[in-house]
């Protein structure tokens, strides 16, 4: 390429990069003036830049750690952990390394599976480890490698399992080609193990010859049950789209691809039938000695799994019965609906062939045994049906109620009604309800048909509702839709909802929906459905209005929400949720963004309201969370805060704010990996909330991953350009990256409605950029503002920090400390304060906030 071409491409690239898609096209059309090659070059670069926004975001050393991590294994050999003497490493499995060890107490050899380095600090992974191990322990079966226990000793978490002597199926296939009868026996044993697991609700997710050990006498043991789930959750399986080369960039696990189902490659939700597909690939290899979708490159393997049919078994193995060919190909159907719908069914067919092989001479006997097996199949199907019907919880989603009346006054009613129905339904044991924070996203552009939403949320039924106008009155129409076929299970219309009792509408819907879903509700659950909410209709309405305002928070809305909650309490002083709502408002009001109330006042009011709520109803997750927030932001009592958040989560694991605040606690106490996990959880439960997203992005900032933080915030701002919080944080990220001018540009654009926040950020940035005079100008202006309104001392400290005036910075930070200003809790994690760390006054300050002296920067 000519140098001038390169320059031209570059300048066009930069000119087009900030433009949106349509402006880009127009710009390039004009600028390239018919030079199609040039235009294609620039467009492909722009496309690459969009598509791989996170490319090279993680710095090389972190990538390097992953490369180096293999070496970590050797250190355990010869060590003794509790009663286990480690002998040698056997290999590396689903989540970490596996060692051969001796249980010195029982004097037997066992295998220990350790969590790998990256997962050691991940509580979620640990919980999964325990959960899955428990599940597998229940699924006792001769073909499932048994688990003896889970241990946590000296900081190691590991599974203790049977040591199976033998070779993996992969090694066996590599060494020799088993005869058809032997292959049938091996295959049937694997299928039997899966049938048992599936009956216990466990999906293996990673069926492959390496996970099957063949012991002496041809006994099969399947390993690594359900454990793969944990690993796959960890962002390994990137959504694939149509471009298969994403696989290597997304970091999809190598080697496993050959046995993955199409839906697994597309990163869709998996069910038992995904295991059936993987089984098909293993059976194919077992009978023919080759992989069904064998190709040189990953991309080709993936494309083959998604689109092409493998060659018939008989091509590789002439003595294969056509029936076997049919069975394997039925497992390998791309559409899971067309596969075997259960492992038991597959086992039956394989058993049939085994029988036939043994009894080949007499057709008659074959028929008899087929009849017997048909009966067996019937029994299996019936019991599987019964199992599903009676033990699996029925899953329901309540979609936001759509206001089509054009009357903004009832806007609050839709959300509130849906949310309170969710909380009512959540208390029923036979029912699992998608959290409202998840379903509330299905509105506006993301509105879906009930069937589509049901499929996406993986539920059995969807409750929908619309508020429409009928003459002078407002009418609520609700329907319960079967997610599998779109059929209406129940429907009802409530007239005059602006005047009739909302509580009675709620009770009516809850009871009737319950009946429609044929839940066997005992009296206790009926009570749960109708308890909790006050008889006072108007109090309930005020509460709903308050929550609506609180969710759509701004300075004005929080003020109004306080009024609504207070009104609800005045009407019904024993309405616990209204007290909790009030606490949630006060806990925000110390922030200049929501109230500008002095910290002490705001926090003590929040505490009083939360305590009041708990005095009335000690099982309210909301109130425990509110109290935890006060402990976190004001008392700086990490242990108390943690126990509140944990308790709230034990009461309601899906309460997003509890995860959200818990992640803050973990951040400030230096447990970043856990904080990220909690933050992810909050975001998953409440994906559209700007707060949970903001928090998620900010974790990267605290983790010093500035490129990732910037990318995250950019994405947020693309959808919500007016988000002041995100703008401000992005500016601070740029400052850390040394892009002072870009940061200043961003701060300058913050609207004056958030004057204090804007001025402080701008003052700090000017100072950092060396524009000291301007910084001092702003300082003077802020001082002037402080005479009229409350300016948090912490904010003033930030400007002095920029000016590198350490004395005054510490002066104001100590003032902030005196006031117990909430943002002080980030002192040791916020990169902006890194420049202060060497100063002995910093340690003293950190101690005042009950924070550990930070590690050396």
């Amino acid at each position: 390429m000519e140098a001038e071409d390169w320059e031209r491409i570059e300048s066009l690239f930069h000119a087009a990069l900030p433009l949106d898609v349509s402006a880009r096209a127009a710009h390039l059309e004009l600028a390239c003036a018919g030079d199609e090659a040039l235009r294609a070059e620039v467009e492909s670069l722009l496309a690459a830049s969009e598509r791989d926004a996170g490319f090279l975001a993680e710095n090389a050393f972190n990538v390097g750690l992953q490369v180096l991590s293999g070496a970590r294994a050797k250190r355990l050999e010869g060590e003794r952990i509790g009663r286990y003497q480690i002998l040698r490493r056997l290999g590396i499995g689903g989540m970490g390394e596996v060692y051969l060890a001796e249980d010195t107490q029982l004097g037997r050899k066992i295998a220990l599976k350790f969590l790998s380095g990256k997962l050691v600090d991940d509580n979620w992974a640990k919980r999964q480890l325990v959960k899955e191990a428990q599940a597998v322990a229940m699924a006792e079966h001769p073909n499932i490698c048994p688990i003896y226990g889970i241990e946590e000793i000296e900081g190691h978490s590991f599974i203790v399992m049977q040591y199976v002597e033998g070779e993996t199926l992969a090694d066996l296939i590599a060494a020799r080609r088993p005869a058809v009868a032997e292959a049938l026996s091996l295959g049937a044993q694997i299928v039997a193990a899966l049938a048992e697991a599936h009956a216990h609700g466990i999906i293996h997710r990673d069926i492959k010859p390496q996970n099957v050990v063949v012991g002496g006498g041809g006994q099969v043991k399947v390993l690594d049950f359900g454990l793969a789930k944990i690993v796959h959750r960890k962002d390994r399986v990137a959504p694939l789209g149509d471009d298969s080369s994403r696989v290597s960039q997304g970091g999809l696990v190598i080697g496993t691809v050959a046995y993955m189902s199409p839906e697994q490659l597309r990163a869709e939700r998996l069910d038992f039938r995904s295991d059936i597909f993987s089984l098909g690939t293993v059976l194919y290899e077992l009978f023919t000695g080759r992989k069904p979708f064998a190709h040189a490159s990953h991309a080709e393997v993936i494309s083959a799994i998604l689109t092409s049919q493998p060659s018939p078994l008989a091509e590789h193995s002439p003595d294969i019965q056509p029936e076997l060919d049919r069975i394997v190909f039925r497992c390998l159907e791309k559409d899971r609906e067309k596969r075997y719908q259960s492992a038991s069914e597959l086992l039956y067919d394989l058993g049939n062939i085994q029988q036939r092989g043994a009894a080949a001479p007499t057709r008659r006997r074959t028929h008899n045994s087929a009849a017997a097996l048909a009966l067996l199949l019937f029994l299996i199907v019936i019991s599987a049906y019964a199992y599903h019907r009676f033990t699996r919880p029925y899953k329901l989603a309540v979609l936001p109620i759509v206001n089509e009346s054009g009357d903004a006054v009832v806007e609050y009613l839709g959300d509130s009604l849906a949310e309170s129905l969710v909380s009512k339904f959540s208390r029923l044991s036979g029912l699992r309800v998608s959290p409202f924070t998840t379903t509330s996203g299905y509105r506006g552009e993301r509105r879906r048909s009930p069937q589509e939403a049901g499929r996406e949320l993986d539920v059995d039924a969807v409750l929908i509702g619309r508020i429409v106008r009928g003459g002078d009155s407002l009418i609520l129409k609700t329907e319960l839709i079967d997610a599998s076929d779109g059929a209406q299970l129940w429907g009802e219309r409530y007239d005059d909802i602006n005047t009739i009792s909302i509580a009675s509408v709620q009770h009516d819907i809850a009871a009737k929906v319950g009946t429609a879903m044929a839940l066997s509700m005992g009296g206790r659950e009926q009570n749960l459905l109708t308890a909790q909410d006050p008889d006072n209709e108007e109090a309930l309405r005020e509460y709903f209005r308050g929550r609506y305002l609180w969710r759509n928070r701004s300075k004005e809305n929080i003020q109004k929400a306080v009024e609504k909650f207070n009104a609800a309490i005045a009407l019904d002083p024993s309405f616990a949720k209204a007290h909790a709502g009030l606490a949630d408002c006060y806990a925000l009001m110390n922030s200049p963004a929501y109230g500008n109330m002095p910290t002490g006042e705001a926090m003590n009011r929040a505490r009083a309201a939360a305590r009041q709520a708990l005095a009335i109803d000690n099982s309210l997750a909301e109130a425990h969370t509110s109290l935890g927030v006060v402990h976190l932001k004001y008392d700086w009592d990490w242990a108390e805060a943690e126990s509140r958040f944990r308790h709230a989560l034990s009461l309601d694991p899906d309460y997003a704010p509890a995860h959200y605040w818990y992640s803050h606690l973990l951040t400030v106490t230096g447990r970043q990996p856990e904080a990220v996990a909690e933050s992810e959880q909050a975001r998953r439960l409440d994906p559209l909330s700007p707060l949970t997203r903001m928090n998620f992005c900010r974790e990267f900032y605290f983790g010093r991953q500035f490129d990732t933080a910037a990318a995250c915030l950019h994405e947020m701002l693309r959808e919500d350009p007016a988000n002041v919080n995100a703008q401000r944080t992005l500016g601070f990220v740029y400052l850390q990256q040394g892009m002072n001018d870009t940061a200043i540009e961003i701060f300058e654009k913050i609207p004056d409605t958030n004057k204090a926040l804007k001025m402080v950020a701008l003052g700090y940035a000017y100072a950092r950029a060396g524009r000291k005079a301007e910084a001092r100008g702003i300082l003077a202006e802020v001082e002037k503002m402080a005479a009229q309104t409350y300016i948090p001392p912490h904010e003033r400290a930030v400007i002095y920090l920029g000016l590198d005036d350490k004395d005054r910075t510490f002066h104001w930070l100590n003032k902030a400390c005196d006031e117990r200003f909430a943002t002080m809790i980030y002192l040791t994690v916020d990169p902006a304060f890194d420049t202060l760390r060497a100063d002995p006054r910093f340690d003293a300050l950190a101690r005042r906030v009950n924070l550990q002296s930070p590690p050396r920067a």
């Binding site: 991590s69 993996t168 390994r236 010093r704 040394g738 870009t742």
Partner: protein, 191 residues
């Protein structure tokens, strides 16, 4: 951290390398690698709260520990960072090559395909592909190649990179955007 026995010749090698002796780098590499590896282990073992280590911090630490500071006069901070980034690149690429070569398995049976190994192998392939693409980019536009080396392998911020290359941060940011787009495209379609 426990003190390591310092290989004596490192300082000499660094001094001669900074004077322009290219061969000194070859002798230096394995020693630095060893130390980096040991430090990486140390961090992994301590199950460091913050798994996202700062590359520069690590390299700083490595050099502080290996080098007799009084005898090696870095021309300036930039020189130091430039060297660090190059070494980091070399170290990672060497590891990636080893990893790719390494045969898995052993023992009576292999317990499934190693997840950690698979990830390591996957990452290794990515690093090698990146290195290859980066060489092509450097041939086309040397400064962009340097920006990527410093930012990605050296872990430097835009500001620091700008100091090393003696250009403005805006230029670095622009180079970085363009280079990333070019490399992403190259790695997707190239080779």
């Amino acid at each position: 951290m426990p003190p390591s026995s310092e290989p004596p010749q490192i300082t000499e090698l660094l001094v001669s390398w900074s004077k322009g002796d290219r061969a000194a780098l070859e002798s230096l590499m394995p020693l630095v690698e060893q130390e980096l590896h040991r430090l990486a282990h140390y961090y992994m073992r301590r199950e460091h709260k913050d798994h996202t280590l700062q590359t520069t911090a690590l390299i700083n630490e490595t050099f502080l520990r290996l080098v007799d500071q009084d005898r090696v006069r870095w021309q300036n901070r930039s020189h130091f960072y430039g060297i660090a980034a190059q070494i980091m690149r070399r170290v990672l690429i060497n590891y990636a090559r080893d990893k790719k070569r390494e045969k898995r398995g052993g023992g009576t049976y292999r317990v499934s395909l190693s997840e950690a190994d698979a990830v390591a192998e996957e990452r290794s392939i990515e690093i090698l592909a990146l290195d290859e693409a980066l060489q092509k980019l450097s041939a086309l536009d040397e400064r962009k190649g340097r920006v990527v080396e410093l930012r990605y392998f050296g872990g430097l911020s835009v500001q620091e990179t700008a100091e090393v290359l003696a250009v403005s941060p805006v230029t670095v940011a622009r180079d970085w955007d363009m280079a990333r787009a070019w490399l992403a495209r190259e790695m997707r379609h190239g080779s």
